[in-house]
Symmetry: D3
Subunit: 139 residues, 6 copies
Amino acid sequence: MATTPATTDETQSSRVQAVFDDIRRTRGSDFINAFWRHLAFDPALLESTWAEAKRTMVAPSALDPLTKELIYIAVSVANGCSYCVHSHTAAARAKGMTEAQHADLLAVIGLAGKTNHLATALQVPVDPVFDISPDTLRP
Amino acid sequence: MATTPATTDETQSSRVQAVFDDIRRTRGSDFINAFWRHLAFDPALLESTWAEAKRTMVAPSALDPLTKELIYIAVSVANGCSYCVHSHTAAARAKGMTEAQHADLLAVIGLAGKTNHLATALQVPVDPVFDISPDTLRP
Amino acid sequence: MATTPATTDETQSSRVQAVFDDIRRTRGSDFINAFWRHLAFDPALLESTWAEAKRTMVAPSALDPLTKELIYIAVSVANGCSYCVHSHTAAARAKGMTEAQHADLLAVIGLAGKTNHLATALQVPVDPVFDISPDTLRP
Amino acid sequence: MATTPATTDETQSSRVQAVFDDIRRTRGSDFINAFWRHLAFDPALLESTWAEAKRTMVAPSALDPLTKELIYIAVSVANGCSYCVHSHTAAARAKGMTEAQHADLLAVIGLAGKTNHLATALQVPVDPVFDISPDTLRP
Amino acid sequence: MATTPATTDETQSSRVQAVFDDIRRTRGSDFINAFWRHLAFDPALLESTWAEAKRTMVAPSALDPLTKELIYIAVSVANGCSYCVHSHTAAARAKGMTEAQHADLLAVIGLAGKTNHLATALQVPVDPVFDISPDTLRP
Amino acid sequence: MATTPATTDETQSSRVQAVFDDIRRTRGSDFINAFWRHLAFDPALLESTWAEAKRTMVAPSALDPLTKELIYIAVSVANGCSYCVHSHTAAARAKGMTEAQHADLLAVIGLAGKTNHLATALQVPVDPVFDISPDTLRP
């Protein structure tokens, strides 16, 4: 039960078709997960969101693909996005996340969740030493 | 301005002293950041929280120390914990985070923040393929 | 599966009955959605919450009814309230939200979700120009 | 620096004056904290919010006043509301919260923050035994 | 549908068995709820989390057991953790929470949720009077 | 105090210069607010984020510019993004938001914040009537 209908292969327009084709080609799989099918109710939003996801998560960058999935899961957990936790945990597994890494991920997320709450409850003032002087960082 | 007073080197009890000593020894630095000084109003909470932080973030584990800091930052951003974002961004830099990795981290966090909101707005149903069968995972 | 039982037409007290009658009269519909049925376990909380909802969302005010529903959805998405996203998306449709407006709403929510995360990750200081001088605003 | 100007004793209208008078009378103090002064830019919102706060937090009810403040702090911490954490921690102290109770409060908030994150990361299914049968609860 | 398999009595290791035994002994019940069964995919995380939960929620402390459950529920609601809301509402009932106390809890949570949003929307500056001088608090 | 240095007109690269020029041209103002100056530490992230903001908030679409700002504020408040609340409240004023509309916005945000918490505390099941049949919506 969603707030927009899922776009099926039968109902999609050519703009949606082009994005679905690119998702399949990029992932080397015929499967299109429900997020993209429901987002497809608006072809422009589908196009721009997929382009950003592909650029950020798939294209080579300073962080490796698995690390990026772990960061994605961390944000999704803190935001309480059930769908995103499921889909990106599956993606992390597909990219090689071991059970020990999954356990480590959860330990860090749990600790951060706890200390975030403690720091907010304490209203800890930021230490001046954490400041970034433009001179030291961008000489 | 915090909700508990900061414990200084002069006011601390021997239980707090022992934790501060261990923080200094573990980090190889004399500096104790404000989070621990304000948490020290309760020695038991200070002890257990530091023990968990040391075990999770410092002890060798399946994920490397920098990756764990990036995950910590991701959770802290999503939870809106200003102090934690500052302290762990500084910690990630100290552990070697480059400017390119910082930019990559922010790109992933921004994308996840966006798609978390979209998936929640769409109320996307979880794809059955994401299900974990106990048989396949724990044979 | 909820944490309080749903109050049915058979089990409701006269205080609950009066609120249900007013909901039906106000909306011109016999249907009482589950939020009110579960909240009815406490008649006082039901009364005050419905009174506030009616005053804020139904009574004429500076913003039109559809705009108020869009704002409601935006808050509910950011707070991750699944039920609220469903019920207020349905309410927005009933008040005339078009598919193009729905797409626009999601684009803004997605962008805000992303830039909220980026601004928090960057810990951007507030520009002094955003300040409100009492002299300029309340002469 | 706020998004609305603070209403001072000089600028307030008679509607605002009446609420400020009631706040002073109810609390037995001349001090009006900034929340009410900034909310006063809209007298109707000030009136209804104060009425709800007085009814919920001040009037005798099933939970004692200090317990209600602790619950208020817990919500405010999880929502990251800095102002609210400060004002309600001060209110809890004024109502007798001891340092040991404060420490206990933080330990529970920290644990809940942690296990909330873990349960979401695990996507734990709700145990059927937690279900509430209307028959057992409202006979 | 979870992201880790549930550990059953048949598949558990001796480390997990020891924790499950302690949970059963501590609670005086044979039932192990799903949170612990799914967390058990990592015995170390299970052990440390249960130890913290037992120390914080079960051992005698400055706050009584029911008050601690109410605080736990408040955090879980604000964090949107569905599982936690269910399990700790059941726990609060088991510890004697009355229907009137449940209603009172929800009234406070609802009010705090509302004023948290208002204070953040107003960006209310913290009143200097809320400041804690170390001299007054730790003489 | 931010986690990246602000890019000034003196230190910016030609890629950043091009974005700053476009921001100035689009807004008809010489002022560049701090969000863009701090995001400019990564020219690629600056370019893509500004492009999305311009496309979503400035280009004509199904919702008018002021309504989009109100939605933006609503998300920012619920996410607790202090900078974003300030900058978009100022933007809404610049686009004509009246004091009465501001008060109405806050009343809706406050109500939604409250009922989001209540619906989550109650774990209200979604009414089947809110379901969207693909047949009715996309004939």
